[in-house]
């Protein structure tokens, strides 16, 4: 198996699906000649041509609306929003149009929106967001957020093949910092299924995206220094949420830490906490704890950004507090 970076895994998945199905096409700002702001689609224009790799105008409503319309007539568009933050300009298209087509008319909308998201790259307030919670609240959309190259490739392929609109949150900080083994052959990762990235018996950490890696480091440290066994559950898919996997893990460990990079209030962690409180309350040996970015916009200052974001040390502290119960 080849070892590739997270972004290379996304690229491979896109490439294979483009080869596999001629109704798949890419559109977005600077994805063709420029190769994408993060170079995810470098080389695509030469290979697939300008009919299928389309540099769009800088207009997110037009991009997402055109993608939705094309999906209505059987195309499989993959739209890149250059930075996930910019999706705000096309919000209406996703939540009112794409998300409700099938509900209203029983017509599938097989489209994917790629959303490079996340902080930790000193992008400041408008280039660091984790906007998944805005869409988590909208029935009709599916949301995925891979943390590893394996999941990144498997999920982009599943997203493209899914008949529903799928929002694909790819974390910018992982692009070139995370490598992993990825099979050369055709495989998919099922949307709606989480993954136990590390088994453990004492505390469950439910997490996704870049925070998975911090949780894994924290779990190693706790094992070594405290002898506490921490399970790390990577949601991978935010909608649908793998409720059974979450509940099974908490029923086993009796303690839950939820960690995500999005800020705490109104974040997806709140829904996970409610789920566990409602259906596994009697299994809990300690209060549910949550870790996330603090409730402010994302600061540019690298020093403050570090303070703002969750990290290994914060997760370690929270785990130790839970272990003490």
């Amino acid at each position: 198996m080849a070892v590739v970076t997270y972004i290379e895994a996304i690229t491979k998945g896109l490439w294979e699906e483009m080869e596999r199905d001629s109704s798949v096409f890419l559109l977005g700002e600077d994805i063709g000649e420029y190769g994408g702001a993060f170079k995810a689609t470098k080389g695509f224009l030469n290979h697939f041509g300008s009919d299928r790799v389309i540099d769009t105008v800088l207009a997110e409503s037009a991009i997402l609306g055109a993608a939705t319309g094309a999906a209505l007539v059987g195309m499989k568009p993959v739209a890149e929003i250059q930075f996930a933050d910019f999706v705000t300009s096309g919000f209406n298209q996703l939540v009112n149009n794409s998300a409700t087509m099938h509900y209203r008319w029983n017509i599938p909308v097989p489209m994917v929106v790629r959303l490079p998201s996340g902080a930790g790259i000193h992008g400041g307030p408008f280039h660091s967001r984790n906007p998944e919670a805005w869409f988590f609240h909208q029935p009709g959309l599916k949301l995925v957020a891979p943390s590893t190259p394996y999941d990144a490739k498997g999920l982009i392929k599943s997203a493209i093949r899914d008949p529903n609109p799928v929002l694909y949150f790819e974390h910018k900080r992982l692009y070139r910092h995370i490598k992993g083994e990825v099979p050369e052959d055709d495989y998919t990762v099922e949307i709606g299924k989480g993954d136990i990235k590390r088994e453990g018996n004492d505390i469950s950490v439910v997490t996704y995206g870049a925070t998975v890696h911090q949780a894994l480091e924290a779990a190693e440290l706790l094992e070594k220094e405290d002898g506490v066994s921490v399970e790390v559950l990577d949601l991978r898919s935010l909608m649908p949420l793998d409720k059974d996997l979450i509940l099974d893990s908490v029923r086993k460990t009796g303690k839950l830490l939820i960690a995500h990079e999005d800020n705490i209030t109104g974040g997806i962690g709140g829904e996970v906490a409610a789920l566990v409180a409602e259906f596994a309350f009697e299994n809990l040996d300690a209060p549910i704890k949550r870790i996330g970015a603090i409730d402010t916009p994302t600061p540019y200052s690298p020093t403050l950004e570090e303070f703002f974001l969750p990290n290994k040390n914060k997760i370690v502290a929270a785990l130790r507090a839970l272990a003490a119960f």
Partner: protein
């Protein structure tokens, strides 16, 4: 601003104008019939709304019938249509079953959207009727998507997108026109300028009152049409559709029209934003009345035929109401059925 007025043409010229368009007598009589069906269907809808059989929001097309009927008559069966929130007329003009439309208004399971949408959500993919949409201007970019799909798939279907003059102030309208011009998409944008975005007159909402001029920013072929004249609508839309089909050239049309009823069912026909006199004056251009006269004078339609047509339409509309009345409510478990594929 120049509002739609009657063409001052001689009787002789008028009696020949559909021939020049290649339309048979039977076809123009059918256009008249379609407008009449829309009018009577919606008058009945208003009554049913008054009886609380129809709830929520309901926007009537009364006064604007010539726009939809003339434009849609210029399309092929494999063309696509997007409508906005005033969509009953477009749906009927596209040949959708009045029963399914009335049942949707009643919120019944037999409605064309199974009662999940209501007045603003008529839809029939089998007729290329890609729906009504309730967010002003929000549907406009979808038209560029279907047009792109047609071009990509090598089909020569054309997409027509209806919207009001208020929608032309939305940013996404401009984004889409730019995209359509840049990508050379087979799409025709039809702005139905009925002069009021709800209660705000175009002069109070829009810096450029001639809406079609907005397309000049994208170097797009553009013109205004007398939207009270069904044959003018047919003639100009046909040209635009042919151009789109042949050379993938988009067009922006502004149909100048007028709505005779309130914005929705909850506001009066006239009042604070327009006078009774203005509405009465505009009603002299009633597209059905004027076209009916033209056909009568040309001798291809008799009053007796109109009377028979009225009776037949009355029956069709009554049957649609009976159908809606009899139809079941959507079952509660259907709520979850179509959220995802």
């Amino acid at each position: 601003m120049a509002t739609a007025t009657l063409k001052k043409e001689s009787k002789e010229e008028k009696s020949h104008r559909w021939k020049e368009l290649g339309l048979s007598n039977a076809k123009v009589i059918d256009l008249y019939r379609q407008m009449l069906l829309i009018r009577r269907f919606e008058e009945r809808s208003a009554q049913e709304y008054g009886k609380s059989k129809i709830g929520g929001f309901c926007h009537l097309y009364i006064g604007q019938e010539a726009v939809g009927v003339g434009a849609i008559a210029a399309l092929r069966d494999d063309d696509y249509i997007f409508s906005a929130y005033r969509d009953h007329g477009h749906a009927l003009a596209r040949g959708m079953d009045p029963k399914g439309i009335m049942a949707e208004l009643f919120g019944k399971f037999t409605g064309c959207s199974k009662g999940m949408g209501g007045s603003m959500h008529m839809f029939d993919a089998s007729r290329g009727f890609m729906g009504g949409y309730g967010i002003v201007g929000g549907h406009v970019p979808l038209a560029s998507g279907t047009a792109f799909g047609s071009k990509y798939l090598g089909k020569d279907s054309v997409t027509v997108c209806f919207f009001g003059e208020a929608a032309a102030n939305q940013g996404v309208f401009h984004e889409t026109l730019n995209l359509a011009a840049l990508w050379k998409l087979p799409v025709v944008f039809i702005c139905e300028n009925n002069r009021f975005g709800m209660g705000t007159a175009v002069e109070r909402s829009t810096a450029v009152w001639d809406i079609y001029h907005k397309a000049s920013a994208y170097d797009m072929t553009r013109q205004w049409i007398d939207g009270m004249d069904v044959l003018e609508m047919y003639r100009v839309v046909k040209q635009a559709v042919d151009r789109a089909r042949k050379s993938n050239e988009p067009t922006m049309l502004e149909a100048r029209t007028y709505r005779f009823r309130g914005h929705s069912m909850s506001d009066p026909i006239h009042g604070h934003y327009r006078t009774k006199e203005e509405v009465e004056e505009q009603k002299r251009s009633d597209p059905i009345l004027v076209f009916g006269h033209e056909l009568l004078e040309a001798g291809i339609l008799a009053q007796k035929t109109i009377d028979e047509m009225e009776l037949e339409i009355k029956r069709i509309v009554a049957e649609s109401v009976e159908f809606a009345e009899r139809s079941p409510e959507p079952p509660a478990d259907f709520l979850y059925e179509n959220v995802y594929v």
